[in-house]
Symmetry: C2
Subunit: 455 residues, 2 copies
């Protein structure tokens, strides 16, 4: 008999009523009493387990089945019976169950509550729990949504390099590759990339719209809930557009992803809503329906100043001035208290932003934006790029940068570079936001951070 997926059963159980079906997967729950037993069965295709009912009268190996441990793999044949009114809308009445491989009772995943800290120590097993099944599935569908959005909008994917000689941006926070016995393998210092932006900019000058989607690295020793040493970034880059147009695309990507998840990861979002963050679906629905406000950095500073003056807000750092780097407390006040929405902050002082951002006509600010999210803070940052070779070189000199390794990048401005804008989306932080998770270690299969390198 052909094996069918439980997802197909959930989608079509009324049509499949009273037919014989065959399943292969794992035991997630098993209880038996005397003559009848019940298995919670999963084959990984659906978050929801399927109830398999087995009876002594039909199954000569009833004793074996009822003794089968959690996580054991089994083959089930039986009839699908619609069970209106009961907790499960259908069940499988087994005519045959083969235990394919018994799991050790020592398996750390058992039918009880495991906390997130413990589950991090068994990252290879944790998606066997409903919570991590849901989070990793949402992560997968989010990746699909990213590829779909960019494909539908004519973007070309660029596999930007991981090993690079350029640390213009890294400022000492890059991982370095160790030399071989005979010196540097590549003949020079080699680092792990902190961003694919430069490669993306080069290719945007050819295909106009491109994006990268790959791992990036920071040798930061921060032990916060929001930092990893290895994380995934999406970095779109679009030639010929300015900052305003860029924010429109940023907003579209976010909304497209949420709509996509509502379609392809509905069960998993509901699970997260019920078990991680009760406001999740309401919050995401609101985001899709809203227009993200745009506020100038300059105005944001004034809002904060006024709030402090009027004692409407209390910050640890109340020294608010134009030129300051906004702290998370300030960012959250803006997007949570003032706008209660994802919010773009625009045109930051050049002093606190990267060298490649386009200098505005005021000579003080650059055409940069951060997109702040309630509860999360910065989720994406983007900018229009400096297109003037002279201004870019001037800025590099002001910052006393060694431009040797990036001369090719600066040179792009000489070869028909009229305009280009792009942004970076922290993929893992986005998964946090979309699942209600409060620790980034819980949204990536095998987290890497300072002092942590298991699996």
């Amino acid at each position: 008999m052909e094996i069918i997926e439980t997802k197909k059963l959930w989608d079509n159980y009324e049509e499949l009523a009273n037919t014989n079906i065959c399943l292969v997967g794992w035991i997630r729950a098993n209880r038996a009493s005397g003559k009848i037993g019940f298995i919670g069965f999963s084959d990984g295709s659906s978050l929801n387990t399927v109830q398999v009912v087995y009876k002594l009268e039909f199954l000569p190996n009833f004793a074996t089945i009822s003794a089968a441990t959690l996580n054991s793999s089994i083959l089930v044949e039986g009839r699908l019976v619609v069970t209106k009114g009961s907790k499960q809308p259908f069940e499988i009445q087994a005519t045959k169950i083969d235990v394919l491989k018994e799991a050790d009772a020592s398996c750390p995943i058992q039918k009880k509550h495991h906390n997130n800290e413990f589950l991090r120590t068994i990252s290879h097993l944790r998606p066997r729990t409903n919570k991590f099944y849901s989070i990793m599935k949402i992560r997968n569908e989010l990746a699909n949504s990213i590829h779909e959005f960019f494909k539908n909008n004519g973007f070309v994917l660029v596999h930007s390099p991981i090993i690079t000689s350029n640390d213009a941006e890294g400022a000492g926070e890059s991982f370095e590759i160790k030399d071989t016995e005979n010196g540097p393998f590549f003949g020079k210092k080699a680092l792990l990339t902190v961003s694919g932006q430069m490669a993306a900019e080069a290719f945007a000058q050819i295909y106009k719209r491109v994006y990268t989607f790959g791992p990036t690295f920071r040798a930061e020793k921060s032990h916060t809930n929001k930092h990893l040493a290895e994380f995934w970034m999406v970095e779109p880059e679009i030639a010929f557009i300015n900052l305003d147009k860029l924010t429109i695309i940023m907003e579209q990507v976010i909304k497209h992803s949420i709509v996509y998840l509502f379609k392809y990861a509905k069960d998993e979002l509901e699970y997260c809503n019920n078990n991680i963050d009760k406001t999740l679906i309401e919050r995401l629905t609101k985001v899709v329906d809203s227009n993200f406000p745009r506020v100038e950095y300059r105005d944001a500073v004034n809002i904060l100043k006024t709030a402090v003056a009027k004692k409407e807000a209390k910050f640890i750092n109340e020294n608010i001035f134009f030129g300051m780097d906004l702290g998370t407390e300030h960012e959250r006040y803006i997007c949570e208290k003032v706008y209660n929405s994802p919010t773009f902050i625009l045109n930051y002082p050049k002093r606190i932003k990267a060298f490649y951002m386009k200098l505005n006509e005021d000579g003080t600010t650059v055409a940069a934006t951060d997109l702040l999210f309630p509860g999360v803070g910065e989720l994406c940052g983007g900018s229009q790029r400096e297109d003037s070779y002279q201004k870019l070189i001037k800025r590099c000199n002001e910052l006393q940068m060694d431009t040797n390794g990036i001369q090719w990048y600066l040179d792009l401005r000489k070869y028909g570079y009229y305009r280009s804008s792009g942004f970076g989306l922290g993929f893992d932080r986005f998964v946090m936001y979309l699942t209600g998770s409060d620790n980034i270690r819980d949204v990536i299969p095998f987290p890497r951070s300072h002092g942590q390198l298991e699996f």
Copy 2:
């Protein structure tokens, strides 16, 4: 006026005849004589440039336009005119051309033939040539085809980690992360991954069908045309299937990708066919239509032996025996001369294959397969995995492996691991095959190999 893409013009020029359109992009060719000029225009959305005709009588800045250099960015407004019978099926008769940004005449990409070696030194610019435009576009569409195939077939994407502590397989060919001033950042030796398989196996025991698609690394000093230090791999893993079923999926992936490219990268494949390998499209068509032969390693050895004995083949290494590792010359003989088709070799001697492959009942061979391609050699390798914890440990001991770092991986066998099979597809080599390219450095945006780390 709204900007339109040249791809849309190529798709719909008959409908758009005599309408006014606006384009933004780059000059790829420009010649003028007295009162009329012609620009070969690209906006990156199509391989084919659009001919823009500009006339002194309509354009007051005619002199500026006719002096505009290659690579300069321009805005064009004009009327689309269908030009039946001429080389181009339509052209744009310009009513306005703004030179947005003049390119330096020093730009290394000019209207002449550049060889591949030179173009590798300007990897950031080379897709401005038709050849590299086509190759990188095909690479992009191939990535899309991979995601589509796996999504349509219910696979979950796993972001397997790049930094890892496991070098069980690497055998000294892994890159290592340099320690910080205060010792190892991760508290232990950290390497760049050579494969995402172990992570994939763990997740296949949950979602049943998973795949990875990411960068992998080898610190190999080989200077061949087929090796890179950093390359991309697709590694699907499927629980509950055996080697036979695996080969069916391998064959499906290959065929799906080719069919997808015929649909989404037709122009680029034709360019490669006409300019790189005249047999390309014929060859790919044949692959789609064929059934890949399966031949036992044991039989392949006998075929080779016979060929040598009968002097039907000439090899550098004619010492053919069961247990040998087939050389490229032998592999090519099998798939090119004997079968003239992509060919699966099945059930290799365990001695020449990896520790995790399932030992066959003969006690000598493992359930492994290589898929050999004419002209390329091995494109994918896969295996059914050893599912017995005891046998796996025994094999690790035979090979005197340090299993400390992979105990979690071995333990999977204890927790309901009935069966699992998977394969690795060298993404860059597949791009070589699909474009007719003979050097792997030409199919990845910024190649990294021994002594080579530019950009």
